[in-house]
């Protein structure tokens, strides 16, 4: 199973194995990773599963759709490498992905 690393804004990190096909958000929720709220449950209707994707991974993952970018406008402190973790689907290609959660979601 692909390993995903979740770092918090203070630098603490946790690496877990997430099943292929789940989203990076679901991986976090199922494993009680703090820092990802996912209030809307993955329907891209809030921005509370916002994460920063490590730069080197930006080109390897699928680009955000316009609707996701629109939603990221409303996230807490969005940056160039901001993504909604509910839109990142785990696959073997994402093995080793590192995401950082913002200091807060709301």
């Amino acid at each position: 199973m692909p390993k995903i690393t979740y770092k918090d804004f203070q630098g603490n990190s946790k690496t877990i194995e997430v099943e292929n096909g789940l989203t990076v958000m679901e991986g976090a929720i199922q494993n009680n990773i703090p820092g990802i709220d996912a209030d809307c449950g993955g329907s891209m209707a809030c921005a509370t599963c916002h994460v920063y994707v490590e730069e080197k991974w930006l080109n390897k993952i699928q680009k955000a759709e316009e609707a996701e970018e629109d939603m990221i406008d409303m996230a807490f402190e969005p940056k160039k490498n901001s993504r909604l973790s509910c839109q990142l689907i785990v696959s073997e290609e994402l093995d080793g992905l590192i995401v950082t959660t913002p200091s807060k979601q709301t």
Binding site: G41, E66, D73, F76
Partner: protein
Amino acid sequence: MKKTDVIIIGAGPVGLFAVHQLGIKGLKAVVIDNLDKAGGQCIELYPDKPIYDIPAVPECTGEQLTTRLLEQIKPFKTDLFLNERVDEVYQEKDNWIVKTSSKKEFVASSIIIAGGVGSFEPRKLSLKQAESLEGKSIFYSVKNKEKFKNKNISIFGGGDSALDWALELSKFSKITLIHRRNEFRGAQHTLSEIKKLEKKGKISIKTPCQIESLDSEKKLKSITIKFDNGKLEKIPTDTILGFFGLIMKLGPIAEWGLNMDKKTIQVNSENFETNKKGIFAAGDICSYPGKLKLILSGFHEVALASVECFKRARPNEKYKFEFTTSSKTIQGRLGKK
């Protein structure tokens, strides 16, 4: 103080359908919501997105669903109190009293909390100084546009609110429109109007950049923004308008003594009552084993909760289960003959 049978907190689809389920049982309700319109997340987050899992409605948008629910509850002539947040809930004998942000008071034997993920509030600037300037130099909505005349206004955001106010306030103030990326999600015709004004020097557009710091003593003097390429720019500003969208905050609900599980309220799955007798929770905000956050689950939850609400509101009457197809009483309540 207004007396009613049931106070419904939240005017989303579940709160609205609660009015129906109570109404056909002959119970009066009021609905309170922090937003300026009914519909909750359906209206605020996805008015144009199709929903495919409402029974017998193969496809409808959040806005259509809301319109139809409002139509369905019309016969009950229920008061919706919008732009009001419920701040306090407390018990007085067998009744519950609710106080809102604008100091309105309601009393009823039951409360149904259909609050979704909490109340919608504007997302604010995260800079430290921003808090003390809020309401003086920093605003997240425009209530009276007279206050925004002859100013140097920096407007943040990329949606319709940011674009509409940039256009409107440019008639009598100097506007800088600032957004974190080059694309604006607001209406494109508004954007092209703004681009025309930019050419005439009436509005200046700064993208892709974000706020870096505020320069203020007592009053705001200027702001510094940082572009994606690292370049900094100082912009004389006496007023900031931030339109970063809305976030959902659980708010005061967490302080009412209800058993909570993270951001949800624990209920039983027989009548969706919380640990407090007479307070019910339904829809996305409630949790119980097997809970699914679907609109249709919320409809079921309020149907069952409304039976217990009836028993509390009419302790001397016997509850009688009836079908809308055959009950003359219900048909009368619906205005049918």
